[in-house]
Amino acid sequence: MSTLANLATRIATGEIRVVDLTHTLDPDFPVIILPPEFGQCARFRMEEISAYDHRGPAWKWHNISMSEHTGTHFDAPAHWISGRDLPRAAVDEIDPANFIGPVCVIDCSDGAAEDEDFELTVPLIEGWEAAHGRIPAGAWVLMRTDWSKRRGAEYLNMREDGPHSPGPTPEAIRFLIEQRDIRGFGVETVGTDAGQGNHYIPPYPAHYYLHGAGRFGLQCLSDLDQLPPTGAVLIAAPLKIKNGTGSPLRVLALVEET
C-alpha cells in the first residue's frame, strides 16, 4: 500500500485522529482591539441572501464579511512591516508545501493559569527539548496555554493598560527562528505576541521577527490540549487571497494514536 493510501486508510479506521484546532466563525468572537484612531479588524458578519423564500425559493445562502485576521487565522510575512519586502510574502504566493508540516506543542498551560502575562522563554524551550527532543527544522511550534477555553471578556482580558495574555519573549522567538529554523509559531490567544507585547523591544517581537524572517503565524487556535508534544502533523492552508496578508482558515492536526 502506498504511503498516501495507508494514510487515508488509517484516518478512516481512526488510527490517525483528525483534530480540529479551529474556532467557529461567530459574529461575537473577539478580534484584536487597536487604539480607536487606527483602522480596526472587521468582525465576522453574515447576511442572508435567501432562505428558500421569495429571494430564492429553493436555496439558502449568505454573504459573509470579515478581516483577513478574524477568527482562527494565518499570518503571512507580508502582514508585518519587517516582512514587507520579502519575496512570496503574501498568502497567494507562499509555496503550498508550507501548509502541511510537523508540529511541536509546548505546554505552557500551568504557567498561563497562574500568570496571565506568562512568557515563553529560551530556558523553557530548552527544558521542553530536554524532555521531548530537539525541535526539528521546518516545524510549527505551538504555544499551548489553554487560552482557547476562555470565553467573553476573559479572552482578550482587556484592562485599562491593554490586554493581558501570554506570549513569547523576543529572545525566545529569535531562538526559535535562528537556532531552530521553525516554519512558524502558533498560539491560542488573539495574537502571536503577548497581550502586553507592544512593551517589548522591538514591539510585537513575534510578529516582527517571524515575518521578517519569512515565517508564519497561527492565531486564535483552539484545543491545543488535544495534541501530543511531538509527532502530529499540522494542516493549515490559508485562502488564496491575492496579495493577502493572512486568512481565516480551518486548522487540522493529524495525530497518530499510540
Partner: protein, 418 residues
C-alpha cells in the same frame, strides 16, 4: 382631578391584541403648517401680513382681506373655554374605542375661536392654555389644558394618546456602550419607565458604565446593530414588550473624503448609523406597529439620535455627516411606514457632544448626555417628532430653514489663501 395612572396589569394571554386605529389624517396643505409646528412643540397660527388678522382654521387666503401673505406665527396660549360637548358616539373607530370624548371651542386671547380637545381637569368656562399636539395620525390638533398644572395631568387618557410618555412603558436603549446610554437610563427611570433594556454589543470588551447601568437595574442584553442575527434574536425575545426604542448606536470618526483616503471608517459609519437603523426597524418595527394601541403600555415611539450634520454636511466630520443624512432620510421613510399604525418616529438632533471623545478638540458649546436625555424624555412626554437639543442644533436648524444654500456655503468655506 386626573386619577394617577396605575401600572397596567399583565396581559391576558387569551386576548387578542387590539389593532391600531387612527383619527382622521387628511388635512389641507395650509393646515399642515399647524402640524409642522406641533411636531416640535409649538402652537402656531396664520397671521395676515397685510391686515394683521390671526385666523383659524388655516386657509389659503385671509378671511378678512383676501391677502395670500399668511406667515405662521407662534401664538400666546391663553384663552377661555366658551362651549363644550362630550361626544358619546362616532362613526370613526378610533373615537368609538375611546368614548366619551370631550371637545369644545376656545376663545383665544390672540383673536380667533378654535376647536380643541379638552383635558379632563378643565372646568366649564375656565381659562385654558391651548397647546398643539400630534395625534395618532401624526397630525396637529389643539388641546385645551388647565391654566395651571394639575396633579397627574399627564395621566389623562387624552394626554397619553397625544404623547409617548415613558411612564409605565418599557424602553429599549439599543447600545449600552453609547456615551449617552447611562444618562438616558437615569432620565427614563425618573420619568417612570417600567423596564429599561439595553442592547450590549461585544460583551467581550469591558466598558466602565456597565456597572452603573446594572446598578440602576437596567436589563443588559446582547445585541449588536451590525449583526443581523443578534438584532433578530433580541427582537424575538423582547420585541413584544418594547414600547419605546431609543437608538443610541452610533459610529463616529472625524474626516471627510480626501483626508481619510479609504472607505474603512465610512463603511463602519454606514453599518452602524444607517444599516443598523434599518436592521433594528426590520426586526422591532413590525411588532411595535402591531402594538401601537395596546393599552397603557402600548408601543408609542421610535427615537433616533441624529447629528444635526444630517441637515447640512458639517466638517470636519464630513463622512460621518453623510451617514447621518442617510439615517435621517431613512427615518422619514420609517415615518411613512409606521404612520398607518400611529407609532411615532421622534428625531432628536444635536451638535457636538460632551461625552463622545471624538469631539474633544472642538470648542464649546457641546451637548451633555444629561441635556440630551432631558430632551428625549421631554420630547416623548410631549409627543414630538423633531427635537433640537442645544444651541448648535437650533442655530443650524434656523439657518437651514432660512436658506439651505447659504448654510451650505458657510459650512464649506475653503479658508483664506494666497
Amino acid at each position: 382631578m386626573t386619577h394617577p395612572l396605575s401600572p397596567p396589569p399583565k396581559k391576558d394571554p387569551q386576548k387578542r391584541s387590539v389593532s391600531p386605529t387612527r383619527p382622521p389624517e387628511v388635512r389641507s396643505r395650509a393646515a399642515l403648517h399647524l402640524t409642522a409646528a406641533a411636531a416640535e412643540g409649538r402652537f402656531a397660527l396664520q397671521r395676515c401680513a397685510d391686515c394683521g388678522k390671526v385666523q383659524y382654521p388655516p386657509r389659503d387666503a385671509c378671511s378678512a382681506c383676501l391677502s395670500t401673505d399668511l406667515p405662521w406665527q407662534d401664538m400666546a396660549p391663553g384663552g377661555t373655554l366658551i362651549a363644550e360637548t362630550t361626544v358619546q358616539t362616532s362613526p370613526r373607530l378610533y373615537f368609538r374605542e375611546r368614548m366619551p370624548w370631550r371637545a369644545g371651542t376656545v376663545q383665544l386671547d390672540a383673536g380667533p375661536t378654535v376647536l380643541a380637545h379638552i383635558h379632563g381637569d378643565v372646568a366649564r368656562h375656565a381659562r385654558v392654555r391651548v397647546t398643539a399636539r400630534l395625534d395618532q395620525a401624526g397630525q396637529g390638533v389643539l388641546v385645551a389644558l388647565p391654566e395651571t398644572d394639575t396633579p397627574n395631568m399627564k395621566d389623562d387618557p387624552l394626554m397619553r394618546a397625544l404623547s409617548a410618555d415613558p411612564k409605565h412603558r418599557r424602553v429599549l436603549i439599543t447600545d449600552a456602550r453609547s456615551a449617552q446610554a447611562l444618562a438616558l437610563a437615569r432620565a427614563l427611570q425618573k420619568a417612570g419607565a417600567a423596564i429599561i433594556f439595553a442592547g450590549e454589543p461585544e460583551s467581550w470588551r469591558p466598558y466602565p458604565q456597565r456597572a452603573e447601568l446594572e446598578a440602576l437595574g437596567v436589563q443588559i442584553l446582547p445585541m449588536d446593530v451590525t449583526d443581523t442575527a443578534s438584532v433578530k434574536k433580541l427582537a424575538g425575545e423582547i420585541g413584544g414588550k418594547t414600547d419605546i426604542l431609543i437608538n443610541t448606536a452610533r459610529f463616529l470618526r472625524p474626516g471627510g473624503v480626501l483626508d481619510r483616503g479609504d472607505t474603512g471608517f465610512a463603511r463602519d459609519e454606514l453599518e452602524v448609523n444607517y444599516l443598523g437603523l434599518m436592521r433594528l426597524a426590520q426586526a422591532f418595527g413590525p411588532g411595535m406597529c402591531a402594538r401601537a394601541s395596546d393599552g397603557v403600555n402600548a408601543a408609542a415611539a421610535w427615537v433616533n439620535l441624529l447629528s444635526v450634520g444630517a441637515l447640512s454636511n458639517a466638517r470636519p466630520f464630513g463622512a460621518y455627516s453623510a451617514s447621518q443624512a442617510g439615517a435621517y432620510s431613512l427615518s422619514q421613510s420609517l415615518r411613512a411606514e409606521f404612520r398607518p399604525s400611529g407609532l411615532r418616529v421622534m428625531n432628536v438632533f444635536f451638535g457636538p457632544t460632551e461625552e463622545d471623545d471624538w469631539y474633544q478638540p472642538l470648542p464649546p458649546p457641546r451637548v451633555t448626555a444629561s441635556a440630551l436625555a432631558r430632551s428625549v424624555v421631554d420630547g416623548l412626554q410631549r409627543g414630538l417628532e423633531d427635537v433640537w437639543c442645544g444651541d448648535i442644533a437650533q442655530d443650524l436648524r434656523d439657518r437651514f430653514r432660512r436658506d439651505p444654500k447659504v448654510l451650505e456655503r458657510e459650512m464649506t468655506l475653503g479658508g483664506e489663501g494666497a
